[in-house]
Amino acid sequence: MSRPVLEIKGLDVDYGYGPGAVRAIHDVNLTLGRGEVLGLAGESGSGKSTLAYGLTRLLPPPGVITGGEVLYHPRDGGPAVDILGLDEAGLRAFRWAETSIVFQGAMNSLNPVHKISTQLTDVIKAHEPDSTQAQRLVRARELLRLVGIAADRLESYPHQLSGGMRQRVMIAMALALEPQVVIMDEPTTALDVVMQRQILRQLVRLREELGFSVLFITHDLSLLVEFSDRIAIMYGGRIVEQAPSGAIYRDSLHPYSDGLLHSFPALHGPRRELTGIPGSPPDLRAMPAGCAFAPRCPKAFDRCATEVPRLGPPDGHPDRSVACWLHPTAS
């Protein structure tokens, strides 16, 4: 990997503080390369959203970041910035200009009482206070055109747009300041496949044009495999496997990734056999002592129940990493 744009090191996130706190993210290390699409998958409740919001410090109370750092490398090659160390003003200035987010529900992400134009321009105004309103409007029109929406929709209210259009408006807004990183938390889950395809197509094109990196979260694995360059799989608040998407699809190392990839039917090709994952996700309040997946793992052995495996590159695969005792890491 060339120069990364975002480095997450040992991130811990808790819900609550002190006794009674629940650790939702454990010691997560993740690197987002420049211009890459990093997919994040995992069962519901595995901590994907927590990770995404945690690294931008947007977790709602009672979320608390209890450790680690998130380093952002500016595009001009300047010194890295620790997002977790920024004060409020610094954070405001950093946000959106460098990293933007597309949330899951576009209807809820847009303020119902303001026009699209207002919502597009106010972010520009906040970060480029010197710009004139006319300039901002020109930019807003351009942004809408970028995502394939007629500029006359600028004067619409969110409820006057269809779900797909709203989601595209959110994407346009995310790109308003040409950030380096766009985080997308299940951006298409609420849409039907045709619309989803349209949006993804646009996104891919825009990425080629603008060269931003994407952290893409979904639990639709077919989509993830198709869309992302690299995939990280989360389980119980930890990253359990990380690899280029083709590699993970064809040959997943962690039994959980394997189960996940064999839980969905494919539309084409021969009918694959589908294996589900038995059992239920772990309770964050009572995590197993060893590997969190051990109780559900068909291949678990003694060590799994006692020791937490470390994430690291397995033998012979320097470009991927896994946290599983079946694949002891090189170190």
Partner: protein, 361 residues
């Protein structure tokens, strides 16, 4: 936990296996008039479902796929008699039925039960699992005699949906259950009536992939064990391929294609079905997310904007897909295409002028 395709691709239809039939089913929702429309005499309606014909057979799963808002849920609710229909007929075991409340509805509900899309919304948060299930049993007179009878019936019911030991679940409230467990309770409730037909409206769309599979396996298992007729409504065409014997495609309130699942998914005939299938994510196309869907047509911004679903208040004349169809002909804009047999597999049809002999000439 394995699904293998052991149902032959073309299962012979059992004529007397027909449980529920819809014939020319139509539902128009009145919409409040506003503005200038007030002055017009014609009532304005949402053409949510138009002329839908389908058949549910014993021991078979029929999938209904289509984009959001195409009227799938409305079909299910019509079949469950939760809405009065605007037109058409529903036949249960060959007898035409139209019930609205009261004992007749109860009798109908005993034969036809529905599972709702949202496992979080379809259980009353203030009642326990026991309440939900025992009410369903009592309403349909299947609670057995006395307390023990009821208890036995409850155990049996939870056993059917693999929620065992039943005692762990009976006194739980919905919020204490996981999504998959809730959906199982909802299914158990539907099964309490011992129905002949089960209408499952997107039973898994709100669930996680790994839980999804469990529910689908369960439904398949029930179909086989209890010889149920199942209507499976979904967005996820891949799951229809795996799970359903037969697949119907809806677009803007109309059926556009039908046939056995494998044929419909592997050799789609209608342009809309083709669009749908090509849009579905496919992990075998790694890194090619920007591939063009459908059979052709380059996409620039304007065309994408034309890709919006049509208005159901003023649906397009002729074939409803014609404004988006890359192969639309003049005829498509005027004349409504009838069901036309494709001929590549028995029972495969499409409502598309492409397959009309006249056009072919």
């Amino acid at each position: 936990m394995t699904i293998t395709n052991h149902t032959p691709a073309t299962a012979p239809s059992v004529p007397d296996g027909v449980v529920l039939e819809a014939d020319g089913l139509t539902k128009h929702f009145p919409v409040p008039k506003r503005g200038r429309a007030l002055l017009s005499r014609t009532p304005s309606v949402v053409h949510a479902v138009d002329d839908v014909t389908l058949t549910l057979r014993r021991g078979r799963v029929t999938a209904l796929v289509g984009e959001s808002g195409s009227g799938k849920s409305t079909v299910a609710r019509l079949l469950a008699q939760l809405y009065p229909r605007t037109g058409g007929d529903i036949r249960l075991h060959g007898a035409s039925t139209a019930v609205r409340g009261g004992r007749a509805f109860r009798r109908y509900a005993r034969k036809v039960q529905m599972i709702f899309q949202d496992p979080f919304g379809s259980l009353n948060p203030v009642h326990t699992v026991r309440y939900h299930l025992s009410r369903a049993l009592k309403v349909h007179g299947r609670a057995g005699s006395g307390k023990d009878g009821l208890e036995a019936a409850l155990q049996e019911l939870l056993g059917r949906v693999h929620l065992t030991p039943a005692d762990n679940y009976l006194d739980k409230y919905p919020h204490e259950l996981s999504g998959g467990q809730r959906q199982r309770v909802a299914i158990a409730r539907a099964l309490a009536a011992d129905p002949d037909a089960l209408l499952a409206d997107e039973p898994v769309s709100m669930l996680d992939v790994s839980i999804r599979l469990g529910i689908l396996n369960l439904l398949r298992d029930l179909k086989e064990r209890l010889d149920l007729a199942i209507l499976y409504i979904t967005h996820d065409i891949a799951s229809a391929r795996y799970f359903a014997d037969e697949t119907m495609v809806m677009y803007a309130g109309r059926m556009v294609e039908g046939g056995d699942s494998e044929t419909v998914t592997q050799a789609p005939a209608h342009p809309y079905t083709r669009l749908l299938i090509s849009s579905a994510p496919d992990p075998d196309h790694i890194g090619t997310a920007d591939r063009e869907p459908g059979t052709g047509g380059a996409g620039d911004g304007e065309e994408e904007d034309g890709g919006e679903p049509p208005s159901l208040i003023v649906p397009p004349a002729g074939c409803r897909f014609n404004p988006r169809c890359p192969m639309a002909m003049e005829r498509c804009r005027v004349e409504l295409p009838p069901r036309i047999e494709i001929g590549d597999a028995p029972g495969h049809w499409a409502a598309c002028w492409l397959y009309d002999e006249e056009t072919a000439k």
